[in-house]
């Protein structure tokens, strides 16, 4: 498979909060000791509930947040503490599609200016070459004819078209890696899938690697090769999408799958199994397995004491649970 595009070892990001002159600061352990790899031309979906650390992980990999601990390798290079010129290289090679398509475009910029900006920042091409790259990027997200869309302002575009401009902007520097943070969660059902297809095309045709952040397991199933499940700042399970869905190994993943309905008129006749309680505080996470207070099979003296590590129980399928086998 060759050298991985992205490789994380023990990546950790804590946020410091509430420190004062005489008070010791507290730490939000948003991402704790995450290790994973992403190959070129592959999509890894990162699924988890609100606050589980998905965005923080994505932003830390791109070095938009300073890692607290651990190592990030990108295209064979250690980028954990890159600075200045070298960091600019990373900024070019790795892009983010942010969580909110509505606030991520400047309303006073027409599309061509929004797309030209990164090219200018990185000093790429002359006017003519930049214009051609803009047209190619618009074409790749199916905003055709590109000349027509190049002169539109964001308010003249539908939500789906706006999101495609955001994708085109992420594509303009020919990146090798893209973190797409909930790229379709604000869009209507009928429009959603067309954006996801475009991302898939980019992945397959251009060999771009994707980290696709979502809370929607069904979308992950259809648009990613592998799925990682996050719970309270930890990666608790990761594997090929088929294997993860048909044979989830972690009790949290199992509960998550149970909780998601398919469109089926029979659903209304029965209650759906659901976990009790709420995700824990990240300032004071539970000892041992962070899931143990809600886990239906937790074993006292083990799960509340010892932290489970990721183990490969099936080919390429990892789980962090003491009792999974």
């Amino acid at each position: 498979m060759g050298e991985p595009l992205v490789s994380l070892t023990g990546l950790t990001k804590w946020f410091e909060i509430g420190g004062g002159m005489f008070r010791r600061p507290l730490h939000v352990r948003a991402v704790d000791d995450v290790s994973l790899v992403i190959q070129r031309g592959e999509t890894l979906a990162l699924v988890g509930e609100s606050g589980s650390g998905k965005t923080t992980l994505g932003r830390t990999i791109l070095r938009l947040l300073e890692p607290t601990d651990g190592e990030i390798q990108f295209a064979g290079k250690i980028v954990t503490h890159l600075k200045d010129k070298d960091l600019k290289w990373l900024r070019r090679k790795a892009q983010m599609i942010p969580q909110d398509p509505y606030s991520s475009l400047n309303p006073t910029y027409p599309v061509n200016k929004a797309l030209e900006e990164p090219l200018v920042i990185h000093g790429l091409g002359n006017r003519q070459e930049r214009w051609e790259r803009i047209l190619t990027a618009l074409d790749s997200v199916h905003l055709t004819p590109p000349e027509f869309f190049a002169h539109k302002y964001p308010h003249m575009l539908s939500g789906g078209q706006r999101q495609r401009v955001v994708v085109a902007r992420a594509m303009i520097l020919d990146p090798e890696f893209i973190v797409a943070d909930e790229p379709v969660s604000m869009l209507d059902a009928s429009v959603k899938v067309s954006i996801l297809r475009i991302l898939k095309e980019i992945q397959e045709n251009l060999g771009v690697g994707f980290l696709h952040i979502t809370h929607d397991l069904a979308t992950a199933h259809h648009f990613a090769e592998r799925i990682g499940i996050m719970y309270a700042g930890k990666l608790v399970e990761m594997g090929p999408h088929e294997s993860l869905l048909t044979e989830p190994l972690h009790p949290y993943t199992q509960a998550l799958i149970e909780a998601i309905p398919d469109p089926d008129p029979e659903n209304r006749f029965r209650e759906r199994p659901a976990l009790p309680g709420e995700p824990p505080s990240l300032v004071n996470p539970p000892a041992g397995c962070r899931f143990h207070p809600r886990c239906p099979i937790a074993r006292e003296g083990l799960c509340d004491v010892e932290e489970p590590l990721l183990r490969e129980l099936r080919p390429g399928h990892f789980v962090a649970c003491h009792l999974a086998e």
Binding site: E49, S50, S158, G159, G160, Q161, D188, A189, S190, V191, K192, V193, S194, R197, H215, D216, L217, A218, T219, H221, H222, F223, L245, A255, L256, I257, A259, I260, P261, D262, P263, D264, P265, N267, R268, E271, R272, A274, L275, E278
Partner: protein, 407 residues
Amino acid sequence: MAILELEHLNFHYRTLRGAVRAVDDISFEVEKGHTLAIVGESGCGKTSTAAAILRLLPKNVARYDGIVRLDGKNVMELSDEEFRKTVRWQGISMVFQGAMNALNPTARVGKQVAEPLQIHFDAEKEEAMARASESLRSVGLPEYVERSYPHELSGGMKQRVVIAMALILRPGLVILDEPTSALDVMTQTNIINLLKRLKKEEELSYIFITHDLALASELADEVGIMYAGQIREIGPSEYVYPSPKHPYTKALLKSVPILRSSESPISIPGVPPDLIESPFACRFHPRCSVSFEECGWSAQEFADILERLRASGEDGGVRWGEAEVEDDLTLVLKPEDGMDPVTYRKALEEAFHEQEESTRAFKAVTKVEVRDGGVAVTLHEATTPYMIGEAHRAACLLLRKGGEKDG
């Protein structure tokens, strides 16, 4: 028996660009103890339909009429005062979209739940508080919640509070507007389970508004699919889910990524239309994969076709004369050589029928009638769903023609 019946309900907003036809000639029923889910994409008019039922009108109303029958009685005839006293809260209550984030941050939860009783129904404070506490208990909240402030509660608990508020006067019908869309999967499941339990135990009826077809099936006995201000298909869940009839419903069901299926979702081309200048006839036709030509004709376009055929001598021997466009969907034809209108009408009808094969636009004709010495031709307007099975209706011209295509 129906607890709620809507007949030809219209609710339009006035704006600088023109009227927004958010609720456009909507008719449906909700059976007692049943849940009707209204499913549709953002901006199609779901919340507006709820507002029209509860007579929650903004200042810029352009049109508000039709029949809303609650327990057999047309409540549109009530004065605002009577409506507030007898319908709102007691007859029909609502869990508003985003309401859990609109709780008053400075008031304790118990007090907030009790408040409407005191304000709208002159209840004594003590009785109101007792009722509030009973209602909070019925949605599974522990006692301490009464004394808590909203920010001390989780999202799921706040949503339970909002549901408790809607239930406090024991209404027969509760409108739930996206009651779980801001919540996490697991919390969503807990709330849906609660709603299922309340439905069974309290014999509640719901109108469940959502954009999520899978979630709708968690509660829906009947499901109504809304598009651009209109109900396009409605019927028992048992029919609509496994065998949707309207092309939009079919396309929507295929566009949803399904967890337990390996079939790839397929997107619908284009975007939902503007509610001010919606497409003619069937509003879905520009995006429809099986639309016949007749699905989207305006009277002007039809008149142009008549003119073209006449000019090239393809009018089948009937001189259909000069067409005058009356409105979007109606045109009037005058006989040219003093032919009597009744004979003229008959000739036209036959000629149109013959043309159907070669020029599909003719299939859009729904009515040909004598009027003012001429003949008025009305094109398909696709607002009224056709009956296609027991309690199952869909508004697609293909269904009226009996020529359903698969797609």
